[in-house]
Amino acid sequence: MSFVRNYWLSAVAIVVSAVVFLIPFSFIILMAFKDKTQAQLLDFSWPQGMHLWSNIVEVVTTRNWMLLTAFINSTILTVASVTLVVILSAMVGFVLQRRKTKFNGLIEFLILAGLMLPPAVVPTIWLLQGLGLFGKLHGLVLIEVAYSLPFSILLYRAFIATIPRELDEAAIIDGARPFDVFFRIVLPLLWPVTVTNIVVQSVAIFNDFTNPLYYLPGNANATVQLTLYNFQSQFSTSYNLLFTNIALITIPPLIVFLFFNRQIVAGMTAGAVKG
């Protein structure tokens, strides 16, 4: 009896999931294959003729290869910010977990505040202008680092608690300096959580729209998410190109998802439950 019911339940679940989740994604892909006139109908139909390649060429070359520039910018932004976040937050998480001082409470409060509060946008812009970092890619890197630190620190702190203290004590007794203890003994042991962290943060920063919108204005500096926004008005009559663009910028998260599905889920749930 139970087997029969599960059979039906499975069938219903698969059909509903296909309608709710697969159709929107298929719609994006089908649109990317269509030509302009057919795309304008906005319907869920099989493309007449194969226009994917010409759509891709047109999207990529629009506005002086803006999409290509954007992909380069987004890659630099993601790689640089994630590298900094990983190292800096592992250092903080390490000392925060190991050393109990009267400031720990305050530090934890500041971290939780960072998780909860949205950034104060205009004062940040004012400050970035003062520092000469406004509208600069490295300025945005520092911003992304600042905003990603709290989550990342909590993730590391929780993981470092599972690494026995005896390990660093042994190294200290052997005369290792704090710097060596961290970089040569603790950091390599953090590798599993680091992979998780890298994957989660990369996806978040690559997909970030709000911060580039505020802190990195101008077409020369566009990130991939902003190209979508910029093309939205330009391509308002060429939906095939708009959806080709969406499909193209969905490829990196898709690749990450295919390879690191498990790490992403582990990171999001671990970090979330602790946070």
Binding site: S10, M91, L149, G175, Q225, L242, F257, V265, M268
Partner: protein, 302 residues
């Protein structure tokens, strides 16, 4: 191992002074500088600038005028109400649907791996991309959703063009995109429940529904707390999806505090925009802190 022997050999030479901690506070320094300058400093500065008329080059102190304006202008109040409404709807739906999906996806069901993947994937996709896609799908006459409804004889509503519906439509898309995260958090909570409890309940003659009600539900409370807090805070702060789908429109019907902040910033009302930020801080503090305490206290009693 090479590391160990190498450092061991250095012992007599280095002679670390006894008082210096092996966990130096200097490790905080780089992170503290970046976080302090780029997050904390603007946050504190916003408290002052929200009280000014501000052009980025000079600011005139005008007291609480910006806040008074926030409470006077109907479209700003609308933004405030919308923000809370949006956060309540999205977090409520994510809790209910996330739990249901998690129960379904931890049960004996075919194609579990496929279902988990397909539910989770939207979490990783660009919010703006999702927003644009659903804007097209929700087109009142040509959109696929309404065309599908027309086939079964229902006249679909103007999802995003009807002022009283626009905010809910965006909230639905937010749930579509975010429910996967709630689901995986619940799955993590449910698989952590020892199987013995279910067995004990079954021996005592409980039905599946009773097992869910008296075992699963109370024991995955930490997951519930996490899902509520995460999605509630996320809902209060939401900007990109609303901006991609409606730009706060039609009119001001789907404006939230975050979109108001952006609009005032674009219009050059920096003081007012910053006041919006402070309003959002207060809103989050006033709603989230008591909510956290309530959720955690209840947990303690059980």
């Amino acid at each position: 191992m090479a590391v160990m022997t190498e450092t061991a050999a250095a012992v007599p030479v280095v002679q670390v002074p006894k008082r210096r901690s092996p966990y130096p506070a200097s490790f905080f320094l780089p992170a503290a500088v970046i976080y302090g300058v780029l997050f904390l400093l603007p946050t504190f500065a916003s408290l002052y600038f929200s009280l000014t008329r501000w052009t980025l080059f000079n600011s005139t102190f005008i007291g609480l005028d910006n806040f008074a304006q926030f409470l006077r202008e109907p479209f700003l109040i609308k933004g405030l109400i919308n923000t809370v409404l949006y956060a309540v709807i999205t977090s409520g739906l994510k809790v209910v649907l996330g739990l249901l999906l998690a129960v379904l996806l931890t049960s004996q069901i075919a194609a579990r791996g496929y279902l988990r993947s397909v539910v989770f994937f939207p979490v990783l996709v660009s919010t703006v991309g999702v927003g644009i896609t659903f804007t097209i799908l929700m087109h009142p006459t040509q959109g696929m959703i309404n065309e599908a409804l027309a086939v079964i004889g229902i006249k679909g509503p103007g999802w995003l063009v009807n002022p009283s519906l626009a905010l809910f439509s965006v909230a639905l898309v937010d749930v579509w995109k975010g429910v996967g995260l709630a689901t995986v958090i619940y799955i993590a909570g449910i698989v952590a429940i020892p199987k013995d409890y279910y067995e004990a309940a079954r021996i005592d003659g409980s039905t599946k529904w009773q097992s869910f009600l008296y075992v699963t539900l109370p024991l995955c409370r930490p997951a519930t707390v996490t899902v509520i807090l995460l999605s509630f805070i996320g809902g209060l702060r939401t900007f990109d999806l609303i901006w991609a789908m409606t730009r706060g429109g039609p009119g001001f019907a789907s404006d939230t505090v975050a979109s108001v902040i952006y609009k005032q910033y674009q219009a050059g009302f920096y003081g007012l925009s910053t006041a919006g930020n402070v309003v959002l801080f207060i809103l989050i503090a006033v709603l989230v802190v008591p909510l956290t305490m309530l959720l955690n206290r209840r947990e303690g009693h059980e």
